[in-house]
């Protein structure tokens, strides 16, 4: 039986159950609002959002692999393309693009023109250091770690702070191959 071919982001997105976008946006907004009230420090909130995203990413990767039938990416370039074109499309319904590759292909930027998390959002003056969408950077980091890539993901441009697009910089730190986990003394 020939293996099933990988599906494009659009076809998977069309087949998944959809939820109300406003409910999603408002729920996320309520979470961030509550974190700010509980933690008060903007840096702490950023860290917490990243950690939450990491926990999500660690589980999300299995769902992504199961639904999209994508086999292992050959290199980091392909990985970034897959995240932008299939991943973001499948889970958020937006298509992202990949730009700004550096010389050795270990760092790139994923650009989002449209982001369902930030509909209706305005950052007040006392929260200017807040990375509102930091959960996304955690998700990407967590997911990539489960496929043996240690990465560092940071926000470069943020529409809530006046830029024109959302830009996420993904930098590959190293590939961690699978090691035999049991010691040989048995």
């Amino acid at each position: 039986m020939p293996p099933v071919a990988p599906r494009s982001g659009d076809s998977i997105f069309a087949n998944l159950e959809h939820m109300n976008a406003e409910l999603f946006t408002l729920t996320y907004g309520a979470i961030v609002r509550q974190l700010i009230t509980d933690l008060e420090e903007v840096d702490e909130v950023n860290k917490q959002l990243d950690q939450m995203g990491y926990n999500i990413g660690v589980r999300l990767i299995d769902e992504f692999l199961a639904k999209s039938n994508i086999s292992r990416c050959v290199d980091f370039k392909e990985t970034a393309e897959v995240i932008a074109k299939v991943g973001f499309k499948m889970f958020l319904g937006v298509t992202a693009s990949v730009i700004n590759w550096d010389a050795d292909g270990t760092s790139c930027s994923i650009v989002l023109e449209d982001n369902p998390l930030v509909d209706f959002v305005e950052l007040p003056d006392n929260c200017q250091g807040l990375h509102y969408c930091n959960i996304l950077s955690g998700v990407v980091r967590g997911a990539l770690e489960m496929v043996s890539m240690k990465t560092e993901v940071t926000w470069v441009r943020d529409m809530l702070r006046g830029d024109e697009v959302y830009e996420l910089n993904v930098k590959l730190i190293k590939q961690v191959p699978e090691e035999y986990p049991y010691k040989d003394d048995e």
């Binding site: 589980r59 299995d62 769902e63 292992r72 496929v147 043996s148």
Partner: protein, 169 residues
């Protein structure tokens, strides 16, 4: 089959044919060698205790993967035998058959390995294993009470799995 959220599971499961009892055992391992799940339906002979059995199975697959990748005649560049590879990279074996059983194997790029031991005349189970991976995602990964990396203790998953395996030819 109704799942939480009702999303479509891809691929759709193969039509059940035989009377069942074709599946003997099933293992699910994660990338660190932790045996997440061990199900047994029909296993008359047991030679090792559970711990050793899991270790043996994991070690066997690890070595087999490495060996089959290194012996691949179609790949130009080869590392040394024993050098660990990224899950899913290079060629990956999917089953072996003896005169008494057939072992089918699937590994996802995230390191989740699914092993199903069945009777020797079973056909290609790759699609079935993919379906089981989808079941894993729906019942285990999406379960907020489950900690990734720990053994699976989800009754609903076990029941659905039993039902599905019973239908595999």
């Amino acid at each position: 089959m109704q799942f939480f959220g009702g999303s479509e599971i891809s691929p759709s499961p193969p039509v059940p044919t035989a009377s069942g009892n074709n599946g003997h055992m099933m293992y699910v391992f994660n990338r660190n060698g932790v045996c997440l799940l061990y199900r047994e339906w029909n296993r008359p002979l047991r030679t090792l205790n559970a711990q050793q059995d899991h270790k043996l199975m994991f070690g066997l697959l690890f070595s087999l993967k490495s060996l089959t990748a290194k012996m691949d005649p179609t790949i130009a560049e080869k590392g040394n035998l024993g050098v660990p590879q990224l899950p899913g990279q290079g060629c990956s074996f999917h089953s072996f058959r003896t005169n008494t059983y057939k072992l089918s194997f699937m590994e996802s790029p995230s390191g989740i390995k699914i092993i199903l031991v069945t009777h020797p005349r079973t056909g290609d189970l790759r699609d079935s294993l993919k379906y089981i991976y989808n079941l894993y995602v729906e019942y285990v990964v999406k379960n907020p009470l489950y900690t990734p990396g720990s053994p699976i203790r989800c009754q609903l998953f076990n029941t659905t799995l039993d039902q599905y395996v019973r239908g595999i030819a």
